[in-house]
């Protein structure tokens, strides 16, 4: 038995990471940095010390030819494609690879290939076998080597000037080895400080490489891989079908004399997620059982390892299956499939469940059950708050009980509709966006109106919106000076008007709707012309984009870019300008709707422009900023330390109390 555990342990250690080194060690040891290679040699010694390589099924039954890789027989299989690509690599070197949809089927022109797929389906094996069969020598670099920008550069530079012994013998030292491949295994593992800049360097290498590079990763959609994918011939490995694996495994079992039923094997394969390597490990473990004994698999235990998505978990939770009633633990396990998402799923979908034993007409009973359910869910939220705010994760099972177990007991039945993804998250984030809009608006208006966000939202926006758009609707272009005046008073811009429109209720008419396009265009022009008096900075990068989009949408994008640029140049200072403004408003008495309004505006603008350079030199706001910045962190830390010391005593009695309360609650609910 002791040996078997050794075997198992060893298999884990060397299955993925070290294995590659053994096969490539002949090349690696020739050129790679001394430190690395000596480490591997050491490992090699240690392992070969007391173990026979062949006792490991993963090694023993490793395919020796590319056709024997499970699931790679077909003419369109990845292995065939890879072979084809490697064969023609040299001749296709000058071709240009297409992009996305236009990429060549056979990957012609790509200097590198990217094999992606789940673990244990034979990506590395495929790569090495294809290389071997085509007579290429290869160097494999994987996650156990450091692959930072620097080391990668060195390594490969070494490699490029490297020759195999065969080359040296045949050609002397004139030509580089043409038959050499670099295999970059586990490229998605290039992370952290060690491998900094690795991916970028790899891409650089690929662009100018003189030899084929094969990259291997698990998750090609990972953000780190995004840039790499564009430079590689994309080969996606999928999990082989169960039958394909099963056939091979049966033959393995036969050869090893393990008696195993087909069903058990099926379950084994499913539970290991069609990972061939994993299945082999399991079988090698079983092989150590007494020879000739029939192996019984505890099927349930295996199946549990399969991870359910929230949709499946929810279905399982609510759909009552009389033959297999779920226990408390089963239900709470379903909650733990994703404890942050499941409560949301339960909440989103409990109203569509038709509880068992109730007909459609018994809506009242159903409502009563629903009340119990939502009560329990609401209560679970209190627990969740406690968990998140005081990091009291030991309460998580409690949350499971209230957020998933109890609701599923109350409402178990069948689903009367589609399972929907919780809308709450989206609603929360769009609510936050609205909140930011109001915050901006508040900031813009803050010189004139000093109220809370709620006041601005509830009281100001509706009135202001009407005050601005009503005259436009009634009097058209004539009303524009008046409106610009209002906008100037409150320091708001055209964008803020758009923001106000976002707060329309569904039953309200869009106040812009009936305004004709001409008036709209005139308003925009006026706004752009006179908005040089803003007391706040208009953030250039992000906002201009939005603004452009907005103007295009409203069909009055006649304004040139010149004006926009002009706006960006301004300094967020108002002092001298405001004086001018005030003077101007005093000059023109109340009734500003007269026609000399715009003229005045233009004059004013000219004045402002002449003042501009002087203002630019001042730039007072920024100086202040840095000052605050510099002093910031020092006092914070000391105070925080003190607080921390004080806080645990405060929290713990509360936590205990809460726990007791909750457990009481729980008992009552169960009754």
């Amino acid at each position: 038995m002791r040996i078997t555990t050794h075997v198992y342990f060893y298999s884990i250690v060397c299955s993925g990471k070290v294995k590659g080194i053994f096969s490539s060690i002949d090349v690696t040891s020739l050129h790679s940095s001394k430190k690395n290679s000596s480490r591997y040699q050491y490992k090699q010694k240690q392992f070969t010390f007391n173990l026979d390589m062949d006792s490991l099924f993963v090694e023993k039954y490793k395919p020796l030819a590319s056709e024997k890789i499970i699931g790679q027989h077909g003419p369109k299989s990845n292995v065939k494609k890879l072979t084809h690509w490697l064969q023609n690599w040299e001749s296709n070197l000058n071709k240009k690879p297409g992009f996305g949809k236009f990429a060549a089927e056979d990957g012609a022109g790509f200097r590198a290939a990217l094999l992606s797929g789940p673990p244990g389906v034979g990506k590395t094996t495929s790569a090495t076998l294809v290389c071997k069969e085509l007579g290429y020598t290869y160097t494999e670099l994987n996650a156990s080597d450091t692959r930072s920008k620097k080391s990668l550069g060195e390594e490969v530079a070494n490699l490029l000037s490297n020759r195999t012994f065969a080359d040296v013998r045949s050609k002397g030292n004139s030509v580089l080895s043409s038959k050499h491949v670099l295999i970059m295994d586990e490229v998605d593992g290039m992370a952290g400080n060690e491998d900094r800049g690795g991916v970028a360097e790899l891409i650089k290498l690929i662009q100018k490489t003189g030899m084929p590079i094969i990259c291997i990763c698990n998750d090609r959609s990972h953000p780190k891989m995004r840039s790499l994918v564009n430079y590689c011939f994309d080969l996606r490995f999928t999990r082989p079908r169960i039958e394909q694996i099963k056939a091979h495994m049966l033959s393995v079992c036969f050869k090893e004399g393990i008696k195993m039923s087909g069903d058990a094997l099926n379950e084994l394969i499913i539970s290991s997620n069609q990972d061939i390597r994993q299945v082999l490990h399991y079988i090698s473990l079983l092989a150590t059982a007494k020879k000739g004994e029939k192996v019984d698999f505890k099927s349930q235990k295996v199946i549990k390892d399969v991870k359910l998505g929230p949709f499946d978990a929810l279905k399982k939770l609510f759909v009552a299956d009389c033959s297999k009633p779920l226990s408390f633990n089963d239900r709470s396990d379903l909650f733990f499939s994703d404890y942050s998402l499941m409560p949301l799923f339960v909440h989103e979908n409990y109203p569509v469940v038709q509880p068992i034993g109730l007909s459609k007409s018994q809506s009242r009973q159903r409502l009563d059950l629903g009340v119990k359910t939502i009560q329990s869910i609401a209560f679970s939220n209190l627990i969740e708050k406690e968990i998140r705010s005081s990091n009291n994760w030991s309460l998580l099972p409690m949350q499971a009980a209230f957020s998933s177990v109890l609701p599923s007991v109350y409402m178990s039945g069948h689903l009367g509709g589609m399972i929907e993804f919780p809308k709450m998250l989206g609603k929360i984030s769009s609510g936050n966006k609205k909140d930011r809009l109001i915050q901006d608006l508040k900031m813009h208006m803050s010189l004139r109106v000093n109220s809370s966000k709620t006041t601005i939202n509830l009281d100001y926006i509706p009135v202001l919106r009407e005050k601005i758009y009503k005259p436009l609707r009634v009097r058209g272009t004539e009303a524009i000076p008046e409106i610009v005046d209002i906008m100037n008073y409150y320091c708001i811009r055209k964008e803020d008007l758009d923001c106000m429109l976002e707060f329309l209720w569904p039953n309200e008419k869009n106040p812009v709707g009936t305004i004709d396009a001409k008036t709209k265009a005139a308003l925009t022009r006026q706004c752009n012309a006179s908005s040089s008096l803003l007391p706040y900075s208009t953030m250039p990068g992000k906002k201009t984009k939005k603004r452009k989009a907005a103007t295009n949408e409203d069909e009055f994008g006649e304004e040139g870019e010149g004006e926009e640029e002009e706006e960006e140049e301004e300094e967020p200072v108002i002092q001298p300008k405001k004086k001018v403004k005030k003077a101007a408003t005093k000059e023109s008495p109340k009734a500003n709707g007269t026609k000399n309004g715009p003229k005045e505006k233009k004059e004013k603008k000219e004045k402002d422009e002449s003042e501009k350079p002087a203002k630019g030199a001042k730039g007072p706001a920024k100086g202040k900023k840095t000052e605050v910045n510099g002093k910031a962190p020092a006092p914070v830390t000391t105070n925080k330390g003190a607080k921390r010391a004080a806080s645990p005593e405060k929290i713990s009695p509360q936590g205990v109390k809460k726990e007791r309360k909750i457990s009481d609650m729980f008992k009552r609910m169960q009754r």
Binding site: R364, V371, N381, L447, N450, D459, Y460, I486, K625
Partner: protein, 354 residues
């Protein structure tokens, strides 16, 4: 061209329309050239800010009206940078720490200390003023760190805190301040002011309608003025109710028409809509309960209030508002149905224990 409520805002303590006695006190206090920290509190729309601005003008002269927006950058211990906008003149600065949320303590610790240390600028007045708006939203941490600042820098700094309610302000802070309660104007006073403004703006409006506005505004002068202006803009002869009120009233009607679980889900969508419009939940509850109280039988009213208070409390303790709101809606629907069909009212004792 400003809105009426801004155009007719009084600019000096002499011109205030109500709480005149208080204004006199303030004037005398300022004349004596020194005053303690102030905590100005009162319902929204009762004129707190107006008074603060008047006080500042009384102290520093017209210079305080030349304000500018300043961006302050605050760095958290975890090196995250937070932006805070403040409004400043040469003499005072106004910050709203609650804009930053739970990190408001940093505003007090860094920004205010910095300002305090830089001291006053004017010869006549030896101190600067920091106005803290929405002080009732200050977190406990922030208030605690305020305590020391208030004492230490008393020679160079005066705080004027503006809050909607004094109940969330910690007692030690209160004891360091002069409390000024700005009572909301009476309905009659509001009518007077409305009349005055209407006359100035040549808006022909009947006294009865003015009375109605004053009543409807719930003693919120700003709201009353804005309501009147809305009517002026739209030339309407009756009060236009805010959309959110109508929306919530419709929601209340939905709740009592043949309750079912589907209805619950429907109302959940309505609640999301309200949240999107940033209607505060306490307001939602208030309007909803008011409209439900009018609809439902008087025997059920007690139950309704019990449920509402229970779930609103839960909502404040919890983190996801919609859950608790939905629980309230569902629970009330069930109770309502039970009452109409069986003429029975549950007494959910466990609710109170929870």
């Amino acid at each position: 061209m400003a809105l009426w409520c801004d155009r007719y805002r009084p600019t000096s303590l002499n011109k205030l329309d109500y709480n005149k006695e208080q204004a006199d006190y303030l004037k005398r206090m300022i004349k004596s050239n020194d005053f303690p920290h102030l905590l100005v509190y009162g319902a929204p729309g009762s004129g707190k800010r107006t008074r603060v601005q008047c006080i500042l003008r009384e102290i520093y002269g017209p210079g305080v009206d030349k304000t500018r927006i300043e961006h302050l950058t605050i760095e958290t211990p975890s090196n995250k940078k937070l932006e805070l906008n403040s409004i400043a003149s040469n003499y005072h600065i106004e910050v709203n720490p609650s804009d930053i949320g739970i990190q408001d303590r940093l505003v007090v610790q860094d920004v205010m200390k910095n300002i305090a240390q830089s001291g006053g600028l004017v010869d006549k007045v030896p101190f600067k003023v920091i106005v803290i708006s929405e002080a009732h939203k200050l977190s406990k941490d922030a208030q605690h760190s305020l305590r020391r600042t208030m004492e230490k820098y008393i020679s160079t700094l005066r705080l004027i805190m503006v809050a909607d309610t004094s109940s969330t302000i910690l007692p030690p802070i209160k004891s360091r301040c002069l409390l000024l309660r700005v009572a909301a104007p009476s309905t009659d006073k509001i009518s007077q002011i409305l009349e005055f403004v209407a006359k100035k703006e040549n808006f022909d409006i009947s006294p009865s309608l003015i009375q109605k506005i004053a009543k409807e505004s719930e003693r919120n002068l700003r709201r009353a003025l804005l309501m009147m202006e809305t009517m002026y803009i739209n030339q309407s002869k009756d009060i236009i109710k805010p959309s959110y009120v109508l929306y919530i009233q419709r929601m209340a009607k939905k709740m009592v028409e043949n309750p079912s679980l589907e209805k619950v889900k429907d109302i959940r969508e309505d609640f999301y809509e309200l949240e999107q419009h940033l209607i505060p939940v306490d307001l939602i509850f208030k309007v909803l309960i008011h409209s439900l109280l009018q609809i439902c039988d008087k025997h059920l009213r007690g139950k309704l209030i019990q449920l509402a208070s229970h779930y609103e409390h839960q909502m404040r303790v919890g983190s996801k508002r919609v859950l608790h709101f939905e629980a309230f809606v569902a629970h009330f629907m069930a109770a309502y149905q039970k009452f109409t069909e069986d003429n029975m009212i549950d007494d959910d004792d466990d609710l109170l224990a929870m």
